[in-house]
Amino acid sequence: MTDNKQANADRYWARNLRLLMILLAVWWVVSYGAGIIWADSLNSFTIPGTGFQVGFWFAQQGSIYVFVALIFIYARLMNKIDEEFDVHES
């Protein structure tokens, strides 16, 4: 690999890691955070118009919806980053 190509690969990898950090932070907050650690305090609120206590909803419904969204967002952004750094598949 030439130095130039190597530098490009390194920058690509750093971008990738930053995206992963952000998405995994969201992943952590909705599940371990809202669904478990803060669930008790969040349970004193209900989602307006429903019977869902907020902590319980995150634990049994909300976190799963966010998980699905996260993967689609990841796939989309990653494909863009691939093209930006010209490492996408032909």
């Binding site: 690509y12 599940s31 019977g51 206590q53 319980f56 419904q61 799963i64 993967i71 691939d82 598949e89």
Partner: protein, 602 residues
């Protein structure tokens, strides 16, 4: 037509469909057999992954489990879905770029060691067999309950079907049958869920009904004129009967965190799931395919907690203080109560001899019901192991929640038949995926890569088929003679995957410095620690008050995983760095470009 005729018709036609697909998608090369020639569309792969992942336990037992656990059931919901985020972001795209055929392939090549490869093979085979025995049993149970054939005959029929499409079609056959099985199982799950949602909340969509006010035919009776949400009512009913509130948990927070963590990492590390992402054409397909997989899984996983809450409300409402014998003008138990009592999944002991069902906190019986001869004073089945320490008179097996849903909601016979076909689809699809991992481990990882590298393509394909055949028979044997420890070892499967594969693969991709010495010692430390903890508490009579920091064996995989990471990291620092070609391999898998071709060059 009666239920049985419907069941034969629906189950028979789904089986014919699976066989038809198997014949259409025969495998002719090892590439076809192991990874479906890498030609699977990402959405189809998503469906197949969904069916592969959702086992008899997800389909039949999970909603019931949540129904009795309330909030704590969230560990399964989050654990078994959150793992897909890890899989999609940290593993699947890179393993797809790596190419090759199996998880031990990656471990062996990345850590330039046949020792590491063999450790990975042993883990893969152990994890898969643990799982598959339960699936075969599930097939037998569904057959015996809905078609009134012996459990063993049911297992044999299931074996024959799996044998046919796994041996003939390999991964290619399995992929397309799994996609069909996903459609069958999700339809079978949603139809009763939608009906029961309408009956209890007057809402078509269970996920919305779950959060709504009571309404509809059964719901308005439960509400009794009040305007009250289902969840509030359920909390009230639970509290009145001495159970904890439905929306609050009884496990310690640390334990909930650890169990969720072990299930997530375990899910991401299960070889039969990972290998599905080798079957798509490109890296970008692997990313989006994981999204589709979780989307298809989430349809069931967000419906299950709704079904759990509906069923719990309906169960308490219809049986609490109801007369066992039909009594004019008073509340009596519904017909399904007696049907399921006959199957032994439900039992009633009239402890205070008032002829009414008292359903309160505490276990009614000492373990599972032991039935005696004849009938009691009110016509109930005699139970011989009543537990005198509690006032609770009712034993309910958690599997009833899904299996009896159609009867509870008074649904037509074809829906009941559909649930049978759905349960079979869930069990067969998971069994096939697992058996493929076992057969590939033998023919590819052990024969081709370690012991007989000179084997030809044709011979390897034959070896894979023979291994699949043997694996099916062994699985069937375990289905007919289930080892008593099957339920206990499920914790093993996840704990082991979390404490062995997951860290090894993550380090292999993200830490270039991770070397053979580090990762092999990390895997051994993680597995030994996790296995020792589980064996001590599950088989050697350890009691819950001896748990470390209150962490149950189900959650110990999280600590095992951390130990693995820690040991691997430290040992890697003090031993020589990986050879140049391995470092280049890591560079190679980190970028998508150049992924095509059946065996990735490096």
């Amino acid at each position: 037509m009666d239920v049985q005729a419907w069941t034969f018709l629906i189950v028979g036609s789904t089986f014919a469909l699976y066989i038809g697909i198997a014949i259409w998608s025969r495998a002719s090369t090892t590439g076809d057999f192991y990874i479906a020639g890498r030609g699977v569309h990402p959405v189809i792969n998503g469906m197949a992954t969904g069916a592969d992942w959702m086992s008899a336990a997800s389909f039949i037992s999970m909603a019931g489990l949540i129904s009795f656990m309330g909030y704590d059931g969230a560990v399964y919901l989050m654990g078994w879905t959150g793992g897909y985020v890890l899989l999609a972001l940290l593993l699947a795209p890179y393993l797809r770029k790596f190419g090759k055929f199996t998880v031990p392939d990656f471990v062996g090549d990345r850590y330039y060691s046949n020792g590491a490869r063999i450790v990975a093979v042993v883990c893969a085979v152990f994890v898969s067999f643990t799982y598959v025995a339960g699936q075969m049993r599930g097939v037998g149970v569904v057959f015996s309950r809905f078609l009134e054939v012996e459990i063993n005959v049911g297992v044999a029929i299931g074996m024959a079907i799996v044998f046919f499409y796994a041996v003939l079609g390999g991964m290619k056959g399995i992929t397309y049958t799994q996609a069909a099985q996903y459609c069958v199982l999700i339809f079978a799950y949603l139809v009763p869920a939608i009906f029961i949602s309408i009956l209890l909340t007057d809402h078509l969509i269970p996920q919305i009904g779950f959060g709504s006010s009571l309404g509809g035919a059964i719901g308005s009776q439960v509400a009794n004129g009040e305007t009250i949400t289902l969840i509030e009512k359920l909390n009230q009913l639970n509290t009145e009967l001495g159970f904890k509130e439905y929306t609050s948990g009884s496990k310690s927070m640390l334990d909930v965190l650890c169990i969720t963590g072990a299930l997530m990492a375990g899910t991401a590390g299960l070889p039969h799931v990972i290998v599905r992402f080798y079957t798509v054409p490109r890296v970008r397909d692997a990313r989006i395919s994981a999204g589709w997989a979780l989307f298809f899984i989430a349809i069931l996983y967000t419906t299950a907690p709704a079904v759990a809450a509906f069923a719990r409300t309906n169960l308490i409402q219809s049986v609490s203080e109801a007369n066992y014998a039909a009594t004019e003008g008073e509340k009596s138990i519904p017909q399904w109560f007696k049907t399921w009592e006959d199957t032994g999944l439900l039992a009633w002991v009239d402890k205070n001899e008032d002829g009414k069902v008292q359903y309160v906190a505490g276990s009614a019986l000492a373990g599972k019901p032991a039935f005696g001869e004849g009938r009691g004073a009110h016509g109930e089945r005699i139970v011989t192991n009543s537990n005198p320490d509690t006032a609770n008179e009712l034993y309910v097996d958690r599997d009833i929640i899904v299996l009896a849903n159609p009867e509870i909601a008074n649904l037509p016979a074809w829906v009941i038949a559909l649930v049978a076909a759905g349960g079979l689809a869930a069990a067969l699809s998971t069994a096939a995926g697992l058996l493929l991992v076992v057969s590939t481990s033998v023919s590819h990882d052990l024969l081709k890569r370690v012991f007989v590298p000179s084997i030809t393509e044709k011979q390897e394909l034959l070896a894979a088929r023979v291994a699949a055949g043997f694996a099916v028979m062994l699985a069937g044997y375990f289905g007919i003679n289930p080892p008593g420890f099957v339920a206990q070892v499920v914790a093993f499967a996840f704990g082991l995957a979390a404490s062995s594969f997951f860290p090894a693969i993550i380090l292999g991709i993200f830490v270039k410095r991770a070397n053979r010495e580090g990762v092999v010692s990390g895997m051994l430390a993680g597995i030994t620690f996790t296995a020792a903890y589980i064996i001590y508490f599950k088989f050697m009579g350890g009691t819950p008050d001896e748990y470390w920091f209150g962490i149950s064996p189900e959650g110990i995989g999280t600590l095992g995983m951390m130990l693995n990471f820690g040991v691997a990291f430290v040992v890697s620092r003090f031993t020589p760095e990986p050879p140049q070609e391995v470092q280049e391999l890591v560079e190679h898998i980190r970028v998508p470009a150049g992924s095509s071709g059946p065996s990735a060059a490096h």
